[in-house]
Amino acid sequence: MLRNSLYLVILAAFAVITFALVRNWQPAESLSPIAEHYATNGPAEVGAANLVTAVVVTYRGFDTLGEVTILFVTAAIIGFFLSLFHTESPEESSWLAPTSEICSTASKLLIPFMLVLGAYVFINGHLTPGGGFQGGAIIASAFVLMLLANPKSKLNHRIIALVESVSGVAFVFIGLLGIFLAGGFLDNRIINLGTFGMLISAGVIPLLYVFIGLKVGSELTNIIGHLQQTQKNR
């Protein structure tokens, strides 16, 4: 009982701090100065219709590079830890009951559409809501459906590792090209900016988002594949 009341005291202290911050809160009336700069100069400098994409890939592109690095390290650590669980069993794992015919047939119908939806989301990231991270998550969900509907299917880990490394290297290479051909690292004015609102516009942003989408999708699929292989251990 004493321990519970101590926990309540800690929580009450935290609540007092946060509500003291909330009490003096006023609703915002206008954009902050830096957001105003992004809003007025964004379409002219970057050429992307989706301003969040312009911020994530161009104005704050270095943070995106950091995030991609964190995801890569996470996938590597999980792969390392879970590979200690694998045993090369000679016989096929037979405890996994096969799923019903409706489920396996419907999954075969749905998976190509989900892959195309994921590709659509990250190719059109600069025109509509979406982008590399959302498209990569949708592609990983398609592979989760494949692994759940046919338990005997296996992922080819070499192709996934190849796609992931090539996308990462290409992303950094395009960023480095920006130093020599345009303003700085990850500048998107290497290619001509093009007409506002068309698919081929906003410089290198579609290409960058394609590589980010492929990288995030293959990394999340890698994580799910390692977790699924721990289930076969007896």
Binding site: Q26, P27, A28, A35, E36, V56, I223
Partner: protein, 123 residues
């Protein structure tokens, strides 16, 4: 009457979720429940950040119609918190996955998920 607005309600919802997540981390014993509380804590923080950037009577920062392309700075909400939260959600997934793999390894060593039994580092 400014406290009956959308962003104020969302701000309070986010802070309540943060407090619930913190309560779960402090009081629960099962390691998996602590990880679920971390996930709730993350979701609460993201709601707080996105609700700070909201401005009333404005629209999303996507310039798809011609009317939005002139005089943009007075018609859109703040795009900067949304970009930050985009990154934060993906990193939250990575941290949750790492926590779960560590919980798996911990369960393999001592066959229990009670966090009070892992006192190897206590004095």
């Amino acid at each position: 009457m400014h406290w009956f607005s959308l962003e104020y309600l969302a701000l309070n919802l986010g802070i309540l979720l943060i407090l619930i997540g913190l309560w779960g981390i402090i009081t629960r014993k099962n390691i998996l429940r602590i990880i679920i509380s971390f996930s709730l804590f993350d979701t609460g923080t993201h709601i707080v950040i996105v609700s700070i950037g909201y401005i009333r009577n404005r629209t999303a920062p996507i310039l798809d119609t011609l009317a939005l392309q002139q005089d943009t700075a007075s018609k859109i909400v703040d795009p900067l918190p949304q970009a930050l939260v985009l990154t934060a959600i993906v990193i939250g997934l990575g941290v949750t996955a790492l926590l779960l793999v560590y919980a798996l390894k911990l369960h393999e060593t001592k066959k229990t998920l009670d966090i009070h039994r892992f006192n190897d580092l206590k004095w």
